[in-house]
Symmetry: C2
Subunit: 458 residues, 2 copies
């Protein structure tokens, strides 16, 4: 269904036809269709449509490069769009504009909008202040419910949501209490809105609260919006649930890409230039490669043993990958548990004392399979591991126990360590953990081999 | 703040004191505190609180084991709770109950609730039908706006949301049009609600629509709720945005854990039993281990070469890990791009023709570093790779180009292959890709070594 409605009519088409077609679609679908056009065509199409529709399209988070399109538009249309869209979306677009365009386009706004924009631009991206809208419904506490409802009817079109209403001290702009439209509808029309039953202390965030924490609060308390309040108690904006959903999708993508071992892209896969993609991937790949070089140094250190017992090399990939896999499991578990607040930094010891026995059990399972593998191949005559094959099998088995235990422990502790050092625990990627475990894994393997095979093979 | 409010008063405390304390907290925080108690204590506390509060606590998705607590409650209290909670939460709890408890507890419900429950239980978990609520506001089209608002005031407390209202044919229960409370407030009180400006075809889902698709629609179209409609057009329920947020968090956790190379847990880390945890992890770990055994077989195949040139083994971990890392990057990119609908199954060829040159460039970067590493160590006298060290450096460099290219290509195509075969692309974990790339990586390495070193070392 999705694909059918976003399909454009067959080429060649003039901009007016496309504009008409977009007008018939749902806004989010029209945005997808506009995104599929090159920028000059998009500009022609926007010029050919009613400016109210252009405003709606620019108001959608789904439009990927609004800043690149808006800078190509004639001033009148650019001004109409930038005036018409919501305050939070306007900031998002201005944040991406280069300085000269930013200056030129901000002059198209009304003086009040310019002041509000400058203020909003001072907040960091990825914070509550950076994603909030200033277009929320605030009412004084002495207003009567009936008047409040009449007022809401009048201003509904300028506000991002009318379901969350904020009772604000008109003199100081301090937030007294959020109420819902539901509360208002259920209340006596002649009562003042300040007398509506006061809930517990409102849940608020500061302008510099991280957007992940904003999502967590909206999600936990099932809110439709959360007020952003300065330390003085003054309300400066609200973050609405639809923006939080966009943030959640974005964060999930970022986390997935980082866990895959790369910098997160800031645009869809197909929108990133070839060079941009290489840049995002090469950094971590090189860093991991340089760290992994330690394995070559470790191997060089054990060169004498390798020369004497080449048979040991056969199991190096198998053993190392098992350490990496168990580490990757543990890391993904703990990253999510930390992100969801299921475990806190201080719980590291409880986790360690769970991961240690888990690692031993998992390692023992693999150790038994590894021992059996060598025994079966030897017995069935598939391969000859030499006269000391039982000792080799024992070496592989014991090394697996040691390495999987180390992998589980290191993998689970790494996110804690990163968090303790002030990094995002999600920086701990699967390749990162595997690299960490690989070098130690080699040392564990050769140390065990040395203990078991000394006097025979080594 | 979070931690302070959920702290319980110092022990020893009687259930009534805890119940009173919970009553003073926000519901979501009280649920956290209740979750921290063992089940018999939780039962005592629930018995000591007003049943309206117990209902509120059970209505929260944050309560982890409602089914384990409710089966321990006396019938009167269990009945009051199961009657009071919302229909979708009720289904969620009954779904987790064992058959005898399910039968016993369903008898506590009113005949209508029993019928509704039996109907809702026929829908699969993880579908729109399995997560919808039947408690939505439906109104006939000939109702006047003023009457509709009066009606909403009366029934507001029984409905999960009053912001999304569904105009339904009273005879057939067919959905005519969803309207928002905003539309209703803005409309003329004397108009019929059926005459409110008709939007485009409403966005609806079928009862068996996957919950991930439901989230995607709510997120794309910024909805507060989405109606669930049978093929006949009959509306059977709605899914609200707060449930979708819970699903998004759950899916992000599942995906992260699966990408880490394990079965997803269905409960928080600390809530899973030790044996349950081993089960979730051992399966994939063993499967990966068994596949990775092919590396041992591959190494055995090249035994003669290894004996002659032990120096080649030094770089095996380095080269293999680079293939795994580039594969993990590509896989995480494509899994997310597929999940977000940025690329479709049919785009596989476009992705392949992007990943091939990406892999070559990334591989060349690592190849140059690898070549430099060997040259520097040799020149600086840190290690002696023998008289043919330039050939060895060339082997390592070329192998890196080949393996990183193969890793990027295989890693990006795997999610497409899984999707094509009907699996969730997110089954492609980092360890899975690494394992896939490892065996081929060894073959690439030894083949290149054979070409370059034939006549000298080999």
């Amino acid at each position: 269904m999705d694909e059918k409605v976003t399909n454009l009519p067959p080429d060649p088409v003039d901009p007016a036809t496309i504009a008409k077609h977009l007008g018939a679609l749902r806004v989010a679908d029209a945005v997808d269709a506009l995104d599929a056009l090159d920028h000059p065509t998009a500009v022609a199409v926007l010029k050919a449509m009613p400016s109210a529709l252009a405003v709606q399209l620019f108001d959608e988070a789904g439009l990927v490069h609004p800043h690149k399109i808006v800078e190509l538009l004639p001033d009148a249309l650019a001004g109409a769009i930038l005036h018409g869209i919501s305050a939070d979306r306007r900031v998002e677009i201005f944040r991406k504009l280069k300085a000269p365009d930013r200056q030129r386009l901000s002059k198209l706004l009304s003086p009040e909008d310019q002041t509000a924009l400058a203020q909003l631009l001072t907040y960091q991206d990825h914070t509550a202040g950076g994603m909030m809208t200033t277009e929320f419904l605030s009412l004084p506490p002495d207003l009567r419910v009936g008047e409040a409802l009449r007022h809401i009817r009048e201003v509904a079109n300028e506000k991002e949501t009318i379901y969350s209403i904020y009772i604000v001290d008109p003199a100081t702009r301090r937030l007294i209490q959020p109420i819902s439209l539901r509360d208002l509808i259920l209340a006596e029309p002649s009562a003042t809105i300040g007398s509506i039953e006061r809930h517990r202390e409102p849940i608020v965030v500061l302008p510099n609260t991280d957007r992940e924490e904003v999502s967590a609060l909206i999600s936990k308390y099932d809110l439709l919006a959360i007020p952003v309040v300065e330390a003085s108690g003054k309300i400066v904006g609200i973050v609405t649930v639809d923006d939080v959903i966009d943030v959640m999708v974005e964060e999930a993508t970022e986390d997935a890409q980082r866990f895959g071992g790369m910098e997160s892209l800031d645009a869809p896969y197909m929108e990133i230039s070839f060079l941009g993609m290489i840049k995002k991937r090469a950094g971590w790949l090189c860093a991991l490669f340089l760290s992994e070089m330690l394995t070559a140094s470790a191997m060089q250190h054990y060169e004498a043993e390798l020369e004497r017992a080449v048979v040991l090399t056969l199991f190096i990939p198998l053993i190392m990958s098992s350490g990496g896999n168990s580490g990757s499991q543990a890391t993904s578990l703990i990253i999510r548990a930390l992100a969801l607040g299921e475990v806190k930094l201080k719980d590291w010891w409880r986790i360690a004392s769970r991961e240690l026995p888990s690692g031993i059990v998992l390692g023992s399972i693999l150790g038994v399979i590894g021992f059996a593998r060598i025994t079966i191949w030897q017995m069935a005559g598939l391969y000859d591991y030499g006269e000391h094959w039982t000792l080799i099998a024992a070496t592989v088995g014991c090394a697996l126990v040691g390495i999987v235990t180390f992998g589980s422990l290191a993998g689970s502790m790494l996110p804690f360590l990163l968090k303790r050092l002030g990094f995002d625990p999600a920086t701990a990627s699967a390749p990162f953990v595997a690299t960490l475990v690989d070098v130690t894994g080699l040392i564990i393997y050769f140390s065990i081999a040395y203990q078991i095979l000394r006097g025979t093979l080594l």
